[in-house]
């Protein structure tokens, strides 16, 4: 019997197989690259489109009104000054209630008094007005200027797009998120710890596990119905309040936190648990001194994802009445409020001209809040990990 030969790597068939393998590797790498580029492209397009449309929402065209400072500044006086400066249509060039701004600015001792211009002027100055307004703007141009509209960041909803503000919805969102986080995080992490560390393997634990996994897949509007029935119907909590919105979103976010936390807890090496048990740690000490600190970064990532989803949620909040027209920012978690995505939804429904860019501006605010929230999560995580690496 002859000894077995070494594999012949020179045969054409073998060469062809090697070549096919290499081609497959390259193809897979390129596909992956293409997928990443495509997502980056979509993201870039979204940002460019939103910023392009939305920036207009943050600004307001203003017009100089040479008010007589010696006389009391009344509506009639301001309109008369406008007529005097710009002709018979002068009063119509000013936005509603613009005379109040004029009075404030005179009182503040400003040299040049600028007030918000009327809608058609504002639109034409931005380049998308009617032909008539465009001609008027061309004549007025030296008196016009675009200014950052602080009232948009400090005001609440209004019927007039000139005077709408985002602060009401923003504050509503922040309060709602605070309630959601305060409830969903401890309960979710607690449930995950119990399931992983204490429940053991039995039918009861299996049932809880299946229910939680299913809960994470339930459409969000169902949670809205649940919130409506439970918090408003049975418990009689106030309608439209961030408290109820937060509770409802907490129900929705909790399963996400539970699932993320469980996998983070499961990823903690069993040898660490054994080590702690072997020096005489109780099970609670094992969990709180070793398992939880090691799982926390993963838990925080899961929480950030769940919270981001809750922040963008609209449907369940519509059902519990957070779509009402609220003209004042909420004072607390029990006051009527709306939230950013609902506000965006409401404004996008408005046909009024100025609402289009206000909608885009609100989307930018929502994106900014989202980025801030994730930024805080990343920062917390980094700080926490640095501390753990560092010291005693």
């Amino acid at each position: 019997m002859s000894p077995p030969l070494p594999t012949d790597w020179r045969t054409p068939a073998m060469r062809a197989r090697l070549h096919r393998r290499q081609v497959a590797e390259t193809r897979f790498r390129r596909l992956g690259m293409a997928a990443v580029m495509l997502s980056a492209g979509f993201l870039g397009f979204l940002l460019v489109a939103m910023v392009g449309q939305g920036l207009g929402g943050f600004t307001r065209t203003t017009i100089i009104v040479p008010v007589d400072r010696t006389a009391p500044v009344t509506e009639a006086a301001v309109e008369a000054a406008a007529v005097h400066a710009y002709g018979p249509d002068g009063a119509a060039l000013l936005a509603d209630q613009a005379w109040r701004t004029a009075r404030e600015r005179v009182a503040a001792g400003r040299q040049v008094i600028r007030v918000a211009a009327a809608d058609p002027i504002d639109a034409a100055f931005a380049g998308n007005g009617t032909a008539v307004a465009e001609r008027r703007v061309a004549a007025l141009r030296p008196a016009l200027r675009s200014e950052f509209a602080w009232p948009f960041l400090t005001g609440a909803d209004a019927t007039d797009p000139v005077r709408v503000g985002i602060w009401g919805a923003l504050k509503g969102s922040l309060l709602t998120m605070a309630v959601t986080l305060a409830l969903a995080f401890p309960v979710g992490v607690g449930a995950a710890l119990w399931l992983e560390e204490f429940a053991g393997r039995n039918r009861w634990a299996d049932m809880v596990e299946v229910s939680i996994n299913n809960l994470a897949a339930v459409p969000s509007i169902i949670f809205g119905l649940l919130g409506l029935a439970l918090f408003l119907g049975t418990l009689g909590l106030p309608r439209s309040a961030p408290l109820v919105g937060g509770l409802t979103l907490a129900l929705m976010t909790m399963p996400v936190i539970v699932i993320a936390s469980r996998s983070a807890i499961r990823a903690v090496a069993p040898s660490v648990r054994e080590a702690a048990l072997a020096v005489g740690a109780s099970r609670m000490q094992v969990v709180f001194d070793h398992v939880l600190p090691q799982a926390l970064p993963g838990i925080m990532t899961g929480t950030a994802i769940g919270m981001a989803r809750a922040l963008g949620e609209t449907a369940p909040l519509l059902l519990i009445g957070m779509r009402a027209f609220i003209a004042a920012p909420p004072g607390g978690i029990a006051d009527p409020a709306t939230v950013l995505p609902v506000q965006i939804f409401l404004w996008s429904d408005e046909v009024g001209h100025g609402f289009v860019e206000k909608t885009s501006a609100a989307i930018l605010v929502l994106l900014a809040v989202l980025l801030c929230m994730n930024g805080v999560a990343v920062w917390l995580r980094g700080r926490y990990e640095a501390r753990r690496e560092g010291g005693r």
Binding site: E274, A278, G280, S282, H290, Q294, R388, E389, G390
Partner: protein
Amino acid sequence: MTAKMQARHVSVSYGGVAALDGVSIDLSTEHVTAFIGPSGCGKSTFLRTLNRMNDTIPSARVTGEVWLDDEDVYAPAMDVVELRARVGMVFQKPNPFPKSIWENVAYGPRIHGLGRTRGDLDEAVERALRRTGLWDEVKDRLKDLGTSLSGGQQQRLCIARALAVEPEVILMDEPCSSLDPVATARIEELIHSLRGRYAIGIVTHNMQQAARVSQRTAFFNEGRLVEYGDTSAIFTNPREARTRDYITGRYG
């Protein structure tokens, strides 16, 4: 001679499958006891019955008696937290906590309230690290992660962690199996220096190691204690053919 720990007719089964059958062994401070035998023979299982680490496996069932001095380890009144503080354990793979070296050693004394002040804990940490010969190597970097040490240092850190709670018994489950010969020699020296003060039980797959470090040897096979006696007798003149085959490498 009085035994520190006595196991009498200990049997263990996992989900109805017998792993250990009627084992009786003593551990004393005068002797280091080595447990040898092929993989799956039940020696690790036996070790884990002594400090009730098997409690963490829900399907494990233990019968028989284990005594620590005159206390029944499996009595309902026995507190496992206290038991495991008195019967320390070192594992096969070094498993320091992913915390600082100081934290690793101070953890046991702290949770048991053995050191009231930071100074007490510092003292306990230094004492334990000195006893394992690690102090001079790490005294300037107590804040570094325990996991940043070399494998041999990590294992000595784990031993220091067990010593820091001042146990009476130390159980070691193949403590050198992932270490190089130099680190292994250091651990063996350490075991020598600990003898007389602690009752030590060590599981090992290395026959030379068993012969070097122990005075008593127990040979397990298929869940039974085949032979148990003075190490010198077992290695030079075993009574059982199976023992002879195993230690000469003809078997298992």
